[in-house]
């Protein structure tokens, strides 16, 4: 556990993607998600795949870090794939055995679904890998700033998100440590039935909560000591600025999106 999730893990770098404005990256990530859902044919999946690969190359983030993100959802992907294969009844039958029917269309369909999930996670992970949580939340704060008009505490929400992202790795590390300690005392997390396993997790969760509350206590003091919310004329060290990279990035995303839409309209088949 712990090691499988790379969400919220920033990979330091100076690449094109790192230097883009976080607001644009958030908007483009949404556009990317929509685009992935618009994919229908084999060629559109191929197009998204190539786009994703080039994004990874441009980001200069090692492929290993990006792939780590799928590890966390691997079971989900496999489970949905199996369900899709078993329940898809249309098309040419490949195998008919007892109550199991596997069709060619079913295979294609579940492969597409699995790819869709993988593309979604890899693409959005690329945003968190190339954007520091601070600038990510700065971006969200700026995008949500119209809500300030209705007294929505935009800045506080941004700080909460930022701190949550900041503490994910620490808590993961802690889970690892507690599990190790419990294992040393003979706890078994990977044997037994579902209930037995859930029960084995209880002695992990309780110390985790206790330590999380202790952390929260000290963090609250530290925030106070650094005058958080003391004035409303807060300044920022890093100001967000939209540059030529954001223009190029947006154009690229728009081109891919347009291509996928065109394929959806004009191409049918696999």
């Amino acid at each position: 556990m712990g090691k499988g999730i790379s969400f919220g893990q920033f990979y330091p770098g100076e690449s094109f993607l790192h230097k883009m404005d976080p607001r644009i990256k958030i908007i483009l990530a949404i556009a990317y998600i929509v685009t992935v859902f618009l994919c229908q044919t084999f060629y559109s999946y191929l197009a998204i795949f190539l786009f994703l690969i080039s994004l990874i190359l441009v980001s200069q983030v090692p492929l290993k870090s990006v792939l780590k993100s799928i590890k966390g959802i691997l079971y989900l992907v496999l489970l949905t794939a199996v369900i899709n294969i078993l329940f898809f009844k249309e098309g040419r039958v490949l195998l008919n055995f007892w109550i199991v029917t596997i069709t060619l269309d079913g295979l294609f369909f579940s492969a597409k679904m699995a790819l869709r999930l993988i593309f979604l996670v890899m693409g959005t992970t690329l945003v968190t890998l190339t954007t520091t949580p601070m600038s990510l939340t700065d971006g969200m704060e700026s995008l949500m700033s119209p809500l300030k008009a209705v007294k929505f505490p935009v800045h506080d929400v941004a700080i909460i998100m930022n701190i949550a992202l900041r503490f994910i790795p620490s808590l993961m590390e802690e889970i690892d440590k507690i599990m190790m300690a419990q294992k040393a005392r003979g706890a078994a997390f990977d044997t037994g039935g579902l209930i037995a396993r859930a029960k084995a997790l209880l002695p992990v969760l309780i110390p985790l909560f206790v330590s999380a509350f202790r952390r929260a206590d000290e963090l609250a003091l530290a925030l106070d000591a650094r005058c958080y919310n003391a004035t409303d004329k807060r300044t920022k060290m890093k100001v967000l600025k939209i540059g030529y990279r954001d223009l190029i990035g947006s154009l690229a995303m728009a081109a891919v999106m347009a291509g996928i839409i065109l394929m959806r309209v004009f191409l049918t088949g696999v």
Partner: protein, 277 residues
């Protein structure tokens, strides 16, 4: 001369529905500008409570805490006092708000509304003061405990405080990390004339202090120059504190009539003994 922090018969109790616990009682003291003060006491002796009274986290039940002429009781002073008196806590991990070091350092200055160019200058200054400038763009996760704690100190320095309080900030560190942090703190005290209040239960950390306060059950039971205070090891033992070995040896030798001068370092003691012949 008036101290930068003045306490006047200050008492504070923690009150809950069914009981009150004594935090500190009847404390008067004065911390001079530029001093290096150590606050020593066993667990639960009231050190953290006293520290929290210094920067207005807690308001005394009776008595007054005056920071640079401002009473912590008055709400309008709170902001100015927090700005003047910075506090570093025990666990470095729990004091960081950002995942990139420079963002974390900037946070306090940003909250104060310092102009952007000035923040950038302060971040550079604070990081070089704790000797961590090359880690500016890194994440703190892979650093050692001592390095993380130096970052936590820099994060406070960026607010340009005049007093730096370290509440057992070395307790979680290994000896190497403890040494690093202490060196940084001493440098800040010497070179930047920062007033330092070091809370600890390692007596060795206090031997370079200008003044030591010993706490027990919420009260100050002894204070003065470290070599004076550490001499009375019976009294220190009675408040559950372990006296540095050098002070114990000196006390025993003096008791037997040897004319040994008070000192705190092993090397100095060795020289004193050699002088005796």
């Amino acid at each position: 001369m008036k101290g930068i922090i003045e306490l006047n018969e200050v008492s504070f109790d923690y009150k809950s529905v069914d009981q009150t616990t004594v935090g500190v009682k009847n404390i008067s003291l004065s911390i001079k500008e530029g001093d290096f003060v150590a606050l020593i006491g066993h667990n639960g002796s009231g050190k953290s409570t006293l520290a929290k009274l210094f920067n207005g986290f807690l308001i005394p039940d009776t008595g007054d805490v005056i920071v640079k002429g401002m009473n912590t009781k008055e709400k309008k002073n709170t902001f100015e006092i927090r700005k003047k008196v910075g506090m570093v806590f025990q666990t470095p991990d729990n004091q960081m708000v950002a995942s990139i070091i420079e963002d974390d350092i900037a946070f306090g200055a940003e909250n104060l509304g310092v102009p952007r160019e000035e923040i950038i200058r302060r971040v550079e200054w604070a990081l070089s003061a704790v000797d961590m400038l090359e880690y500016k763009k890194h994440t703190p996760f892979k650093l050692s405990g001592g390095q993380k704690q130096r970052i936590a100190i820099a994060a406070i320095l960026a607010m340009m405080p005049e007093v730096l309080i370290l509440d057992e900030s070395t307790a979680m560190l290994d000896p190497e990390g403890r040494k690093e942090v202490l060196e940084v703190v001493k440098k800040l005290n010497k070179e930047h004339n920062m007033t330092v209040v070091l809370i600890t239960h390692y007596m060795e950390e206090a031997i370079d202090a200008d003044e030591v306060y010993i706490m027990n059950e919420g009260e100050i039971v002894d204070f003065g120059k470290p070599e004076e205070v550490f001499k009375d090891y019976k009294k220190l033992n009675s408040v559950k504190l372990e006296v540095p070995i050098v002070s114990q040896v000196i006390a025993l030798l003096q008791k037997d009539g040897y004319p040994i001068k008070n000192c705190l370092k092993v090397e100095e003691l060795a020289e004193e003994i050699c002088r005796l012949r």
